[in-house]
Symmetry: C2
């Protein structure tokens, strides 16, 4: 798999297994990931955004981090973030500002235009994913949500994180 729809495994040339065709969980997950990633890429492109630009704007919806924090959250080199923010700033989507606490630091914030753009792109993307889920009846969507949540929670726990930190109130 990885990129193509290869039929799982079991090269058993006895009886052609009747119409019980199904992807292995591994194949299913891999293909689905490419599909969803592609959806996001296309929607972002409609607004002239790369995936990275979109991630940048999405992060800025909630905070006004320094360049350094951005680099950590995005998992990029500082210099990559410089260029990323340069291009977004040139388009008027974000703005750089000084930090009161540290005169070396630079704070990055969403402009109104940037906020509008990321809202539009996110809405379209969510429609796409909702449409992808459409063929399933509600009960199975719930079941899928349950299974996916279990996977993500378990993965997060392995890394010492709590996926629902805002649960028990402070």
């Amino acid at each position: 798999m990885v990129a193509s729809a290869s039929p799982a495994s079991s090269p058993d040339p006895r009886e052609p297994p009747p119409p019980a065709r199904e992807l292995s969980p591994v194949d299913g997950l891999a293909q689905l990931s490419f599909l969803v990633h592609g959806l996001l890429e296309r929607r972002a492109a409609e607004h002239e955004l790369s995936i990275t630009q979109t991630r940048l704007l999405a992060i800025l919806r909630d905070r006004t981090p320094t360049m350094n924090e951005l680099a950590r959250v995005l998992g990029l080199d500082k210099s990559s973030v410089t260029g990323l923010v340069d291009r977004a700033e040139r388009r008027g989507l974000v703005a750089r500002g000084p930090s009161a606490a540290d005169r070396r630091a630079v704070l990055v914030a969403l402009t109104d235009a940037g906020r509008a753009l990321v809202a539009a792109a996110a809405a379209r993307f969510e429609e796409d994913v909702a449409a992808l889920l459409d063929p399933l009846p509600a009960s199975e969507r719930d079941e899928l949500a349950r299974l996916l949540t279990r996977l993500l929670v378990a993965r997060a726990a392995e890394q010492g994180l709590d996926l629902f930190p805002s649960s028990g109130r402070p």
Copy 2:
């Protein structure tokens, strides 16, 4: 969501819904896709491969297409594929050859080194995804496979494709 782990929706500040925390299907799918995509990216990087290079090699496991076919399957411009194959060829992972049927066409094939490399990367990636699925008992993995297959088959059908073309024998 899009990039960060936001807790679904429902801003209802009445009673904190007890430990019934769950991601929406949309959020779950989006996060999972990023996770799996990141896994593949990391494994590919271990072998100095980009995602695109990995897709190229993965496709070549099954066929020996022309440059043009590669461009269609990868969803890239012809000129992008030229560069892609150039770099892979320089590393000895693929080889170009003439087509008997059309003297304009160029066939691309995996070398032994390329085959070994993609096999190694794919194996590691499949381990990753299998590990991701580990927290689920077998019965739920099957259920997940069933749901994902339904989604992917429905999506493929919308585009006039059959996900299992080799099903009914010719």
